[in-house]
């Protein structure tokens, strides 16, 4: 069983996260798309091979994918001397990863791309409001600006609702790590496997929602481990 974490070459925390997820976890970085080993036939995705952690892996051995990379930035592809080539390669690598993630028959893809980026939905704050509304949230009327809002459930403002690996298509219930009922309900309306919400009240009138894991946070790594453990069982 292999877990592939797709992340930036500049993110040094991913190796630690991979270790925490177990011996079968490897990190796929943009440099791995510049190594021989990728062989994909769009008609037979299971039979292909990919490259992660500098090694070729059979597609059928990859069971889970965790995507933390919103985009491949040309600036990261420093082994291309020509700037135009960096832009071209970034577009080609992005298109390849989009295909692999969309056609890939893994059991679960955490942070799967559903928007213009490689990970998550890339929603605007106003669009997150729509997702939160569908999950039963109401909004403080004075917080109507796109970048400053407060979401409320059950008449109470929730503060710091974090580490919410959650229920979607593959899972019916998760561990106590999903502590807030409102938060547990967040991903389901949008069909997400993963979502983290940070909602702060008081002097700082702001809100944030993410559907891309941040593996520098050990709580999120732990939540991912529990999430994948739930899928396995």
């Amino acid at each position: 069983m292999t877990i592939v974490i797709v992340g930036s070459g500049a993110d040094a925390t991913l190796d630690k996260a991979a270790s925490a997820l177990g011996s079968g976890a490897v990190v796929m970085r943009p440099a791995d798309l510049s190594r021989p080993g990728w062989c994909l036939d769009p008609h037979q995705p299971l039979d292909g091979t990919v490259v992660a952690g500098r090694q070729a892996i059979a597609n059928r051995d990859v069971e889970y994918v965790v995507v933390t990379l919103p985009q491949i930035r040309p600036a990261e592809l420093v082994w291309f001397e020509n700037e135009d080539d960096r832009y071209y390669a970034a577009a080609e690598m992005t298109a390849l990863l989009r295909y692999w993630l969309s056609a890939f028959p893994a059991k679960a893809v955490v942070g799967a791309p559903t928007g213009p980026g490689l990970a998550g939905a890339s929603l605007q704050p106003s669009q997150w409001r729509g997702v939160l509304s569908a999950a039963g949230a109401t909004f403080d009327s004075s917080g109507s600006a796109d970048d400053a809002w407060v979401a409320t459930w059950d008449g109470r403002v929730r503060t710091n609702c974090e580490s919410l690996a959650s229920v979607a298509r593959h899972l019916s219930e998760l561990s106590p790590a999903a502590e807030a009922r409102a938060a547990r309900g967040l991903p389901a309306p949008a069909g997400y496997l993963w979502m983290t919400g940070t909602i702060v009240d008081g002097n700082v009138r702001t809100g944030e929602c993410r559907d891309i894991p941040r593996l520098a946070d050990s709580r999120e790594v732990q939540a991912i481990a529990e999430l994948l453990g739930g899928v396995r069982s």
Binding site: L33, S34, R35, P36, G37, W38, C39, L40, D41, P42, H43, P45, V51, W79, F80, D85, Y87, Y88, A89, A91, E92, M93, T94, A95, L96, R98, Y99, L101, S102, A103, P113, T114, G115, P116, G117, A121, S122, L123, Q124, S126, Q127, S144, A145, D146, A190, G191
Partner: protein, 317 residues
């Protein structure tokens, strides 16, 4: 009200607007060059432009063909204007994604729009009446060489939409030094399919096939003769099925008819520049699009017979 959004210099946009004017249809054209003059309320539910102020619920149909706002001449994108333009365009993209109206087209899922192998994979899942060319996406020089060696002729094309010109694989591509470069960046290689190119534009239920006469690997960059033609019902139905399955009302489908009578599909364009074909064949594609947009005001949903209503996209792209 029918909402048009794009640039007046864009030939497809100009052609559709002209047809709406001829039909005296109630429409508003949001010229991207004047986005700084568009007012959009904070909630993104109502805009004001050119003396009119429709809310999202007033929109019966929409034809969005937006270009990159940062590259539009005459639009001074200082930070204040840039913020305003971003607010307006985010809201309009959100309308295009989710407004309860006929949208030609809603933003296509990005992996279908910007990843050719992903699109092939999707087409294969939607119909078995169109064949797809044998394809390999690889960073393996050996696999590339083996794929090419086992076929009479192959072409390479980009995996994304960048530098998307198609060209034949030739002997210099198999030179060891050149071949070794395959490892640095994914390359997509396909078996070359002999035959005649047919571009099919589909507007709702209507099908406009154009036969392309060209010897070039990629006719878009060469002189080509374009002639209106017909295609078998089975092929037309397959095109409609693919279009509908991708949640589209309008598509340009690239087909090739082999000498043996097989039909191969290479790509589906969700935002086709149909005027290139219309101007040479006389096919009334713009009028069909205008009719489709006008059907929204009559409470029709513009669906193809037997097809499902296009799914709402989760996000604009």
């Amino acid at each position: 009200m029918i909402l048009l959004w794009g640039l007046p210099e864009d030939p497809p946009m100009r052609a559709v607007q002209r047809e709406l004017q001829v039909a005296n249809a109630n429409h508003l054209f949001i010229d991207q060059g004047w986005t700084d003059q568009v007012k959009m309320d904070d909630a993104g539910d109502r805009l004001t432009f050119n003396g009119r102020s429709p809310g999202r619920n007033d929109i019966t149909a929409m034809y969005p063909r937006p270009y990159d706002a940062t590259a539009i001449p005459g639009l001074d994108m200082n930070p204040t204007v840039a913020r305003h333009v971003d607010h307006v365009e985010s809201a309009l993209l959100e309308w295009a994604s989710s407004v309860d109206a006929i949208v030609v087209n809603r933003p296509l899922s990005p992996h279908l729009n910007h990843s050719k192998p992903a699109q092939l994979h999707r087409i294969a899942s939607l119909t078995s009446d169109l064949q797809l060319p044998p394809t390999l996406v690889t960073t393996c020089p050996d696999a590339f060489e083996t794929f090419v060696a086992s076929r009479e002729r192959c072409i390479v094309k980009s995996v994304s939409g960048h530098r998307s010109r198609v060209r034949s694989v030739s002997q210099p591509d198999l030179d060891p030094d050149r071949l070794a470069s395959v490892r640095f960046c994914p390359v997509q290689v396909q078996e070359w399919i002999p035959g005649t190119d047919v571009r099919v534009h589909i507007v709702g239920d209507q099908v406009f096939p154009t036969e392309v006469g060209s010897e070039a690997d990629d006719y878009r960059y060469e002189q080509a003769s374009l002639t209106a033609t017909t295609i078998p019902d089975r092929v037309a139905d397959a095109c409609r099925q693919v279009m509908s399955g991708m949640g589209l009302h309008l598509a340009g489908v690239d087909l090739r008819r082999t000498p043996a009578g097989e039909w191969f599909c290479f790509e589906v364009n969700p935002s086709p520049a149909f005027t290139y074909y219309q101007s040479r064949t006389g096919q009334p594609i713009a009028r069909a699009i205008a009719d489709l947009l006008r059907s929204g005001a009559r409470g029709e949903d513009g669906r193809c017979s037997g097809a499902t209503r296009p799914a709402k996209c989760a996000v604009a792209g």
